[in-house]
Every structure is written in structure tokens, then in C-alpha cells.
């Protein structure tokens, strides 16, 4: 700890006891060690061939396409939801927030079952859709819906926080300058929360990319149609463990890129823009 303290500026006193370092190190190792163990098991000479096999490429391509689609869907549905939760004042608002965040804590399999009873052939909306000739369950559309279901709360949560931090003062200024609410949203609110929206979208994309349980339950596992990368990894583990490990590493790499791009800046700086410090004017 002492060695760390000498980096750039003199460290302020902290009341953290020295022994905390030991459990903290164990905690960090608990997360990093399994990743290292997996990386050590990669069959590097065959790595290229394993990750570029026909089924791997099909799964990777499908994952990227569906995750992109569900991210777009998350933005279209999540931005209005976050606005209503952050700015609105209505009865049942807290309950709505709690329910919207439910997929964060729900086992994804349960989400898949719920989606099946909504959009499946016998489902709540599915019956109507079937009559209209639309079949959703066990299609690529089902994959996108499953991913959106689990990823939406990430975007809503991130954006709602940014909206609250940004506050309403700029919106009030814009309104008194004559801007109608839609103009305020387009020219002031959205541009101001763009960093929060971007990090929310990245999180939603990452969560979509890793989706497994709800996808398997609601969309099944058809190569090229619904078998995304996590499903492919799970399947390959039975037949070709080396391929599963190689593909896992690809997902880890994607996750690292995503996390790095989101958490590069310390939290708070991504949120509301700060006022320039008042100083003497010399116009």
C-alpha cells in the first residue's frame, strides 16, 4: 500500500486498516484467476481454426447481429422509459421502477418462460400474432426479444441516473427561451445525457451478447437462426472442449473491450457537464 501511495500526488490519510489488503487481494484473485485458468487451457496452435469454423462464425455473426438489434430496441424503448421515471411524477412511479428493474435479478430462464407465455403460439399476444400469420417463438426475432428483455433495465438504470444528475435547470432555461418540450428533448436533454446513454447502450449490448438462459428457453438452439455464441459454447463443451474454451476467450475479449470503453472515465464525469469555474472576466 505504501508503494502505491507514491504515484502522483501525496496521498491523503485513509482510515482503511492495512489487513484489508489481504481479503481484497483474495477477492480480486477470485475474479481474475478463473479467467487466467481458462486462458491457460486455450489450444493456441488451433485457436484460429477453432474460432473460424463454420458453426463458430455463424454463432458469432448471429450474436453480433441480434445484440445490435436488441441494443437499438433498448434505446427506442429505454429512453422514453428512463425519461418518464426520472422526470415524471405519478402514482405508482416507484413500483414501476422496481418492476422494470426486475429482469436484473430474475433468473433468465424465468424470463424465457415468461416470454414464451407472452409471444409463444399459445401465449397472451402469441395467439393474436399466430392468427395474423406471425410466428415469433424459436425464431431470430425471439432471440432479439429475449436479449432486449434482460438488457433493457441496464440502459434504463444508467440513463435514469444520468438524467437525475443532469437536473432540470438547462431544460428550464431552454423552455423560457421559447423551446417547446419536444425541442427541449431533442436539442438539450438528449445531447446532455449522451454519455450516459452511450454507456447504457454499451452495457445493454454486452448483456445481450452474453444472454443464454432466456434465449435457450424462448428461442431454442437452431444453428444460424437462434444459436448465439453462448449457446454454441455450451454445446461445444460436450463435443469439443477446446473449441468451447477458444470461443469463451473471444467473449471475454469482447467483454473487456466493452467494459474498458464504458469505465474509462471515473463515474460522475460521464454524467452532467460541469459549469466552468467562475473567475474574473477579462473580455
Amino acid at each position: 500500500m505504501r508503494a502505491l501511495a507514491h504515484r502522483s500526488r501525496p496521498a491523503a490519510y485513509t482510515a482503511v486498516p492495512a489487513w484489508i489488503v489481504v481479503p481484497a487481494a483474495i477477492g480480486a484473485a477470485f475474479i481474475l484467476l478463473p479467467l487466467l485458468a481458462m486462458a491457460l487451457r486455450v489450444d493456441w496452435p488451433r485457436f484460429g481454426a477453432l474460432v473460424t469454423s463454420e458453426s463458430s462464425l455463424a454463432a458469432l455473426g448471429l450474436s453480433l447481429r441480434t445484440s445490435a438489434a436488441s441494443t437499438v430496441l433498448c434505446i427506442l424503448l429505454g429512453v422514453p422509459l428512463a425519461l418518464v421515471l426520472a422526470r415524471g411524477r405519478f402514482a405508482g412511479q416507484r413500483l414501476l421502477r422496481a418492476l422494470v428493474l426486475l429482469p436484473l435479478v430474475l433468473p433468465p430462464v424465468v424470463g424465457g418462460i415468461a416470454l414464451l407465455y407472452t409471444f409463444g403460439r399459445q401465449g397472451l399476444l402469441g395467439q393474436v400474432l399466430t392468427v395474423a400469420g406471425i410466428q415469433i417463438a424459436f425464431s431470430t426475432t425471439a432471440v432479439v426479444l429475449a436479449q432486449t428483455f434482460v438488457a433493457l433495465p441496464f440502459l434504463v438504470l444508467s440513463l435514469e441516473g444520468t438524467l437525475r444528475t443532469a437536473g432540470t435547470s438547462y431544460e428550464a432555461v431552454a423552455a423560457t427561451l421559447g423551446a417547446r418540450p419536444s425541442t427541449v428533448l431533442r436539442r438539450v436533454t438528449i445531447p446532455l445525457v449522451l454519455p450516459g446513454l452511450a454507456s447504457g447502450a454499451v452495457l445493454a449490448f454486452a448483456r445481450s451478447l452474453g444472454e443464454f438462459g432466456a434465449t435457450l428457453t424462448f428461442a431454442g438452439s437452431l444453428q444460424g437462426t437462434t444459436r448465439t455464441l453462448p449457446l454454441e459454447i455450451y454445446l461445444q463443451r460436450e463435443t469439443d472442449p477446446d473449441a468451447a474454451v477458444a470461443l469463451s476467450l473471444v467473449l471475454v475479449a469482447v467483454a473487456v473491450i466493452v467494459v474498458a470503453s464504458t469505465y474509462r472515465r471515473p463515474p460522475g464525469e460521464t454524467a452532467a457537464p460541469r459549469e466552468p469555474a467562475p473567475e474574473g472576466a477579462r473580455p
Binding site: 428550464a172 423560457t176 427561451l177 421559447g178 445531447p191 466552468p276 473580455p283
Partner: protein, 348 residues
């Protein structure tokens, strides 16, 4: 075409009514929590009063009895706050063009209007900058241009100079004097200088109610409310402006900071300085940047833990110990001394 306002906000103990003629600027004075910000928020439409009504140039802003309430963007009232609140993602030019664009002007026309108002506040050189690159005074200058570019029927200013240092505030006060001339505006302020230079009339709020209202000079010359009296406790001298300062009717030349427009000062003016900046001597001291006024003590009275020494029209705050050392009493001849830097001189 007058502006009328009367409203009640029970939760804030607010119950105020006032009226403005076209082209009139009213200064709203009052202690913190007196209801000044509530007043501006209710006029701008950012807060909905439970009772009352308001009209601006024939259009109803709100009428609680009739259930009418016009949203902020349709009111023609622009609010300029203590912080400039420039949109950080837009350039200075696009900040100023925001109002005209929102009103439906084309982008080219809106930017033309923005350039005009930036020139008007002498900030044309800043057009391409981002708000984050401006000093506090520059940002508030741009905020004034943005407010005026929206062409408000009624301009609302909420302590627009209080976040600035003395130098920047003096420059902007001069600017506001120019742009507010002939414009209908309500300015909330703590400063008697702002009230004297910028307003035709004064409304003093106390505890959410109007304690006193009237023409600025009258209210400050003969204050009835405690708050206005505190403000009017300032030393105020009238006279004629000249290049070296203010010449009083008694022939005394008062040196100070000139707060008026650019150019050689001339015509009727006034000098203002607080009693706390005045020192009392028994013999005339020497030193060029100081103003010395000879006088006779007329009155000594306690003022907090200090003593207010009155000598004719002027007064000074000194400690009881200093008063004892000088053996001050009514009838004693004294010299009141104030640094030129503490004196504000402006045209009236």
C-alpha cells in the same frame, strides 16, 4: 399593454401582486427567502401558483380561477439566472441562436440574429468558442445576449451579477444599463447600486409579501421597510460628474470607481459607499487615493457590535474602543475618510 401579476403559493408563504408599465424596469429587493425567486419562477411558468392571475400585454399567463395556465415556452418571458447556464454542448453562437431557432427562424437567420446580439454585448470574438472555455464574466455576457435574442416581452433577471467578481460585475452592470433601457424587465438583486442604476421602480419583498414599493430614488431616499433602510444606510452623495469624479453642490470633489458608460463622465451623478468603509480621524490625514470629508458629529448610535457615527449626511461604522479613544461626542469636529476604490460613482 401593462404586465400585471398577483399570486399565492401557500407552501412558500408567498402572496405578492405587482404591475409594470411597458419599458419599465423594476428591481425586486429582499432578504434571502423573501420570495424573490418564487416570484420569478411563477412569472416564467416554472412554478404553478394555487391562486391568482397574471397578464402580459393582453395575453393571460395564468388565471387560477379560470384554470388557465400557459406553459413557459409560450410566455415570452426569458429568465436570466445567477449562473449563465449556457448549453455546454453548443457553441457560443448556437447558444445565442437557440431562442430564434426555437421560435421558428431558419438556421441562417437565427445565426444572423445571434451575431447581432453578440455584437451588442461586445462578445462577437467569442462566437466560435465552447461555454467551457469562457470566464464567468464572458459566460454571463453571452447569457445576456442569448436572453435578448429570444426577444422577450418581459426579461426576468435573478441576481445576474452576484456570481461575478467586482471587476466583471462593474463591466456587466454598465452593459445591462445600456440593454435594459426602454425594455420591460424585473431584476432581483441584493445591490443598491443595481437598483439605482438599472431600475425605475423598486419592490421590497419581506416574508413573501410586498413590504414597500415605489420609484427607486424615493424608496431609497425615504425607506419605510427595514430591508430598504439597511440598503439606504449607504452613504449617497449627489452632484455633477467630471473626469476626476463627482463634484458635490458643496464644492467637494469625490474620487471613485466610475460605473457608468464609456466616455468622459458628465452630467448629474451620484456617489455611493458603505459606512463600513469609512474611517474617522480628528485631524485631516494625507494620502492621495482617499476622499476626506470634514464634518461635525451629530449623532452616535449602536449598530450591532459597532457604533454608527453620523456627521451631516454621512455616516461611518467604528468600534466602541475607537469611539472611546477619539472621545467622540456630538459637536466634535471630525474628518471622515474613505478610499477612492470603495466609492462607486455613476450617472443618474
Amino acid at each position: 399593454m401593462t404586465f400585471t401579476f398577483e399570486a399565492t403559493v401557500a407552501a412558500r408563504g408567498f402572496d405578492v401582486s405587482l404591475a409594470l408599465a411597458p419599458g419599465q424596469t423594476v428591481a425586486v429587493l429582499g432578504a434571502n427567502g423573501a420570495g424573490k425567486s418564487t416570484l420569478l419562477a411563477a412569472i416564467a411558468g416554472l412554478l404553478r401558483p394555487e391562486a391568482g392571475s397574471s397578464q402580459l400585454g393582453g395575453t393571460v399567463l395564468f388565471d387560477a380561477a379560470a384554470g388557465t395556465w400557459v406553459p413557459p415556452h409560450l410566455r415570452g418571458t426569458v429568465l436570466l439566472a445567477q449562473e449563465p447556464r449556457l448549453f455546454p454542448h453548443l457553441s457560443v453562437l448556437d447558444n445565442v441562436a437557440f431562442g430564434p431557432l426555437a421560435a421558428g427562424a431558419s438556421r441562417r437567420h437565427a445565426r444572423e440574429t445571434a451575431r447581432h446580439w453578440l455584437a451588442e454585448v461586445e462578445a462577437s470574438a467569442l462566437a466560435g468558442r465552447r461555454p467551457g472555455e469562457l470566464s464567468g464574466g464572458q459566460a454571463q455576457r453571452v447569457a445576456i445576449a442569448r436572453a435578448l435574442a429570444a426577444n422577450p416581452e418581459l426579461l426576468l433577471l435573478d441576481e445576474p451579477l452576484s456570481a461575478l467578481d467586482v471587476h466583471a460585475a462593474a463591466l456587466l452592470r454598465r452593459l445591462l444599463t445600456r440593454v435594459l433601457a426602454g425594455r420591460r424587465a424585473i431584476i432581483v438583486t441584493h445591490s443598491v447600486l443595481d437598483a439605482l442604476m438599472l431600475s425605475d421602480a423598486v419592490v421590497v419583498l419581506d416574508g413573501g409579501r410586498v413590504a414597500e414599493a415605489g420609484p427607486t430614488r424615493e424608496v431609497l431616499a425615504r425607506p419605510r421597510s427595514r430591508f430598504a433602510a439597511g440598503l439606504a444606510g449607504l452613504n449617497l452623495l449627489h452632484g455633477t460628474l467630471g473626469p476626476d469624479g463627482l463634484s458635490t453642490a458643496g464644492g467637494q470633489l469625490v474620487a471613485g470607481r466610475f460605473e457608468g458608460a464609456d466616455g468622459v463622465p458628465a452630467g448629474p451623478g451620484a456617489a455611493v459607499f458603505p459606512p463600513s468603509s469609512v474611517s474617522v480621524f480628528l485631524a485631516a490625514p494625507h494620502g492621495s487615493p482617499r476622499n476626506t470629508f470634514a464634518g461635525v458629529v451629530t449623532e452616535l448610535e449602536p449598530h450591532g457590535d459597532q457604533i454608527r457615527v453620523r456627521a451631516g449626511d454621512l455616516s461611518a461604522f467604528i468600534t466602541p474602543a475607537a469611539a472611546a479613544d477619539l472621545a467622540l461626542a456630538p459637536g466634535v469636529e471630525v474628518f471622515l475618510v474613505v478610499k477612492a476604490a470603495e466609492v462607486a460613482i455613476f450617472p443618474v
